[in-house]
Each structure stands twice: as C-alpha cells, then as structure tokens.
Assembly symmetry: C2
C-alpha cells in the first residue's frame, strides 16, 4: 500500500482542499492518505473555527483515511517549526511513502534545489544574509535578497530561484522540504500547483475560495454565501456545530480572558513565553493596560517588527500555559513526542495497525491512558494540549459544551 | 461640628438609604456625614452594579458630605472584617463623633449589651459554644443557641437577647459595636430601626424596596420599574452609566475570566486565598473543570458548609490577586492602611481639612501619589484595589471604558 502524507489545518475544509487531495492522489498514485492536522488552535495564532474532532469528521468524509494531531507547540508556531513538527510525525510513524503540498510554483525541482541551499547555508549565502540583516529589514525580505545575490554570483544553472520566496505556499513548501532534508527522510515530496486565488484573499470567489474568505463569511453569519466553496459534508458539519453552539470560534471570544490574563501576568511571566524577548513583555503588558478590546490590544502591540501572527501565537501560548522551556525540551528530544490519532475510516484502521508496529513514537488512540505517563515529555505535551482545549471550549456559546477535560473524554472519530 | 459616620455599600443608593441618613441626622443631631463605602466589589462577593465613583456622586447628592473607600480586603470579607475595617477607618480619621446603622431591633441598648458579651466571650458562653459547634451545625446557628443557653443560666436582667442574632442587619450592627469595643473607640453608636422589608426580599415593594430587588430589576433592563424606590439623582446616574456602557455589572460578566483563571490555577495557588482551607481548593478546582457556566460553578461548589457568599468572595479575591498573607499582614498592622477619599461636597471639604490634621492614617486624595509608596503595606493595599478595578472594568460593554489603571487616573468626585 502506497501511503501519502498531507499536512493541513482544514480551517475549514473547502473545495481547494478537496482538489489538493484528488490531484495529489493522481500525482503520487497512492492508495491511502494520512493527514497531520492542527488541533484546536492554528498556525496564525487563532482558535480553529470549529473544533478538531468536527474538522476530522469532515476530512475523513473527503478523501483522508487517518488523521493525526499536530500538537499545539508545533501547530501554533512559526512556519519552520510547524512544518518540522508535522513532517517529523509523518516521518516517525513509518508508513508514509510520499508527501504532497500545495505551492504557487508547482515545480518540485526548483523548490528542492532552493530548500537544499537554505538547509546547507553555504558561506557566500550566509555572508550576504548577514549583510542584509544589518540593514534592519525583516528576515523574510533579507533572506530573499541574500538568495538573489548569492545565486547571481554562483551563476547557477537554475537561474534566480529567489522569486519562490515571494508567496506564502511556496515558503511553506520550502519548509516541508527543509524538514525532509534535515530528518534525512525517505519520504518523496510532490507539489500540486494551487489553482485558487491567493491564500489571503478576503472575498469569496466561487467554487474555490480562500479559507480566510470562508471564515469571514461564517463569522458574519453568512454561511450560506460560502456554500459554493464547501463540500456538502463540510457545510453540514459546520452548520451542525454552529447550531448546537460549538462555534464559530474566533480570538475575539477570548477578549476578556486575554485582557484579564495579561493584566494579572508579570512581565517576567510573559518573558517565559516563546518569542517574547528584547522587552516585548513590557510592550505587551503596557498594551493590555491601555486597551479596552482585543483589536485595541493588537493595534497597540503590533509593528513591522512584531507582526500580528507572532503576537497572536504568544497570546495562544499564554492561554495554553505553554512556555519557552517546554518548546526547548521537546526540541531537545526530537520534537513531537507522540502521534495522537484524531480519527480514521476503514482504510485508516488498516494504516493504524501497521503504524502501531512501525512507528518510532508512541501512537495514542486514548489520550487519557497517557495523562499521567511516566514519560514527563509525553504527559507535558498532552497537558498543554488539554489546557489549550480547556480554554478553547470557553468560546462556545452553549455552556453544556464548555466543560474542561474534554481532551481526555472525547472519543476519536471512526468513520465507516 | 458634630460628625456622623455611616458604613454603606449603596449598591445602588435607594430611598431606604435616604431614610436612614435623614433619621440618623435627627437622632444624632449631627452637622455633617462621613460615609465609608465599599468600592467596586461588595461584601457578598459581587461587583457593584455601577462603579464606586458613580455611586459616590449619588451619595453626595443625597445627604453624605464625604466618602471614604473601604479597601477591597475589608469590603469583600466576612461581616466581622467588613465592619471592623470600616469602623477602624471612622475611628482613625479623628473627626467622627457618632455612628449610626440600621437594625431590625432599633434598640441600641440591647445590641450593645450583646456585643459586649460577644467580645468578652465569658467562660460559660465559650463552653456552650464549643458544645454546640461539636454538633456540626453552622457557626451562626451555634452562636445563637450558645448565647440563648448562656443568658438563661445567667438569669440576665435583659432577658434572652439571642433573638438579635436572627436577622442580618442586627448581626451587622453587632459587628459595628464589637469593632467599637475592640478599638476602644470614643465614637457613640446609634441605630435606626429599619422600615423596609427584609434585606433580601427579591420583589420590588414600592417606595422602599430592597437593594436586591432594585438590582434584579436593573439587570432585567427594567430600571423604570424600580424608579419609585430610587431618589431622582440615583435614577439619573444609573441611567447615564448604563447608557454609556458602564454597567450594570454582575458576576456573570466575569464568567469566562473566572472559569479560565480557575482552570489555569493550581490547587496550591487557590489554597493561598483567604477562606480556602481543608481541601476546598480541590473542590473549587474540580468544579471549574466540570462547569460550563458561572451558575454551574457555584452549584458545583456550594453546600451548607460552603455558602455562596464565601465562595463568591474567594472568586473576587482571585480576580483581585488578593492572598491570605496580604490580609494577615494588613491585620498585623492595624487593618486599613489609609483613608482614601472618593469624593466630597463643600462641607466635606471642610471635614477633609480637619481630617488631614487629625487622622492617624494617611489620607489619600490622589491614589497615584501612593502608587509606589515606600510603605509596602500602603502600596500593596492600593495594588489590590487597582487589580480589582482593572478586572471590574472588563465587565463594561463599552471598550472605551475598559482600560486598566483607572484607579490612578480617575479624579475624585467634587460636588458643589
């Protein structure tokens, strides 16, 4: 059985995702699909619009056979760590033959070439990067400029590949490829050229619309407007979740919790969070005092140097009780400490049984069994996940679904 | 100038309060009225329906000349500490000649007699109290039974005074009297017999209605219904505050903050709060996990042994970051560390100038001057007040009023 690995957030699952799965199946000739998916919080530092189990149901009904959770420390992280965590899991479970991701370029050869340079960091590139960074521009801009100059000097037969760093899906694709190289993984990479509009286009654009546009439409209670862009099951489950009062969730739901937490926190406590350094703790603390709303808070913290996603990830870390020292410990021990299953279908069940034999990390199907694991890294990683979920559920409108501990009581999704 | 002292919450100020002030003036023949009033949180462990400065405005327009804040550690405390803190301030400022409080009995002589017994705790009473407590009933019930037996044995000429412990205003009156005795205060006590219905009657009953009934009516957006029970200025200011989005505040406004705080807190952190002992920390922690709403939370914690007000006070302490050790330190140093002025009128200004000379505790008219006081007890007491207010304002609907630090920026109320 040839197994394809995919990394996704499915926030929410839409026609573009379905297209990606179908094209990837054709491209790789795979027989089964495993997806590593973000849990209740996503990479840009926001709660997912509906919870991970509901999103699992949708994905299982639309071509994915087995879903594994990307733990919060990687899910709510920079593109580099996000990709590293996810690829690491796909690599560790021992059943994945190939991986496929979207990109604007659609050209795996160029992407691989560039990824190799970024991992190897040859002297000429490194020197140029240092020079650029001294100019005070942001890292992504400097990296692109440095690459452009380096490749020119090299007179590389591939020509200037630095344009690949201009768009978000290429950048993420490069991170997946970098992770494969770093892990010396045998998984074979493929890429599907994206047909949709730009990732961040805020307007609905018919059958293929951006997740951003779809989320906006759902938050504005216009789920009907985004129907065209969603598979039927995604529509149904989104509608079900919203109707019972389990979504749509947004960072605004945590406005008072975040302001209260920040007002109570000491700068030292904030400084213990990943990505808080160089006095940012005081900037955040000060903004929390002077802001009456979540939008004010972001406006008072964010600058070019401190982009919104970085700040939002810091706020989610605060909600999940996740500290820099946690991340450091996980990374010292190889990254994700387990592969936690969120759901599977019949084919996924077969994958699971092979995986249980081949995986080099524990495969968790019942989180409660690992709650008090003697392996402190496993129990800590689960504790962070549970804390994140205990806060996530407070965004629900229906109090019946707001209880804590759901991380350990919710059964995984089994589709027949 | 003969000065009368009053202790109040004015939550909100109503006709019953006006009656009490007018009767007290007649009874004592005073020329001026000083009131020690709870701030943004009140004795039963709830946020005040509108903030302390708005409540100050109303009181200054209805017969009070000078308002002093009862600091959170005493305002949100048992009847005994509440009364002790307030009487202590009235006693310390050096200008108060008499105090007047409401009571169901209206008989100051019997109340004084009983207060003396309660302070002296004669052996016969103490032994009887021990016996009663061994039976497992609540302290108030045991105290009343013990007193009844003790007085019978004494064949006291006053007869059985234990009936005085049956009603809430008599109980509070006794606490004021106990505090006067303990402080060896020269302040002369008076009592005004209450004409209103029982303190806790939840229905509006015309011109004199309970504060509970008035608050309920306001929370149900039926402020018009309670107009009859409110002086005009109270109606106007309540309506103004609500219309600009600064109230009405209730504990439910803090539902998510409280649940999130409790879910993040360790049992040890909870155990550091006043009144949390004998494993109550685990009971609270457990309830926070298993409750999806504030009402669920209370229902899951409260029992006869753990009454609602005790639990609510614990929750407010959590919001204000106030610990048992804070209370202990304040009490070791005589209780309230300062007299903080909330507002005054022309006569109040005269009182203030005399007070500044006579007071044995610092008189604070500008809180910001004391923010970094070298006296750590003063700065800590103010810090708790500020933290309480920084959370209180998050209940406002209007984000413009939700900024932190208002404790140090709000000017005191000066009425002409």
């Amino acid at each position: 059985m040839k197994v394809l690995g995919i990394v996704a957030e499915y926030n929410p699952f839409h026609n573009g995702h379905m297209y990606h799965i179908e094209e990837s199946k054709k491209l790789t000739g795979c027989d089964a699909v495993v997806c590593v998916m973000s849990g209740n919080f996503i990479q840009r530092g926001e709660p997912a619009i509906i919870n991970k189990f509901a999103r699992t149901e949708i994905a299982l009904g639309n071509g994915v056979d087995l879903i594994i959770e990307l733990p919060v420390p990687f899910a709510v992280s920079s593109a580099e760590f996000f990709a590293y965590g996810a690829v690491n899991i796909l690599n560790s479970i021992g059943i994945v033959d190939c991986i496929s991701f979207g990109s604007e370029s659609g050209d795996i050869r160029s992407l691989k070439k560039l990824a190799e340079i970024l991992v190897a960091e040859p002297e000429g590139y490194k020197d140029e990067l240092k020079k650029q960074l001294a100019g005070g521009l942001s890292f992504p801009v400097c990296r692109q400029k440095a690459l452009e100059k380096y490749l020119k000097l090299q007179n590389d037969s591939n020509g200037d590949l630095s344009y690949l760093l201009e768009t978000s899906n290429n950048i993420l694709a490069l991170e997946y490829l970098k992770a494969l190289i770093k892990l010396n993984s045998p998984i074979q990479p493929f890429t599907v050229k994206r047909i949709s509009n730009s990732y961040n286009t805020p307007e609905l654009t018919g059958g293929i619309s951006s997740a951003t546009a779809i989320r906006n439409s759902i938050h504005e209670s216009e789920i009907a407007a985004s129907r065209q862009a969603l598979p039927l099951l995604a529509q149904q489950i989104l509608e079900r979740e919203i109707s019972v009062g389990r979504g749509p969730n947004s960072l605004h739901s945590f406005e008072n919790i975040i302001l209260a937490f920040l007002r109570h926190a000491t700068p030292q406590e904030l400084e213990n969070i990943q990505d808080v350094s160089e006095g940012l703790e005081y900037r955040i603390k000060n903004a929390a005092e002077n802001s009456g709303s979540f939008d004010d808070l972001l406006a008072n913290i964010c600058t070019k140097r401190y982009p919104k996603t970085r700040i939002q990830r810091i706020l989610i870390s605060l909600l999940a009780g996740m500290k820099r020292v946690d991340i450091e410990k996980f990374m010292e021990s190889g990254g994700p400490q387990y592969a936690r299953i969120l759901g599977f279908n019949e084919k996924g069940r077969e994958l699971l049984s092979i995986m249980k034999k081949k995986s080099t990390i524990p495969v968790i199907t019942k989180a409660s069994y690992y709650k008090s694991s003697s392996d402190s890294l496993i129990s800590r990683m689960l504790e962070i996940e549970a804390q994140a979920t205990d806060t996530y559920v407070l965004a629900y409108k229906n109090p019946a679904f707001r209880k804590a501990g759901q991380e350990f009581t919710q059964n995984i999704i089994i589709c027949r």
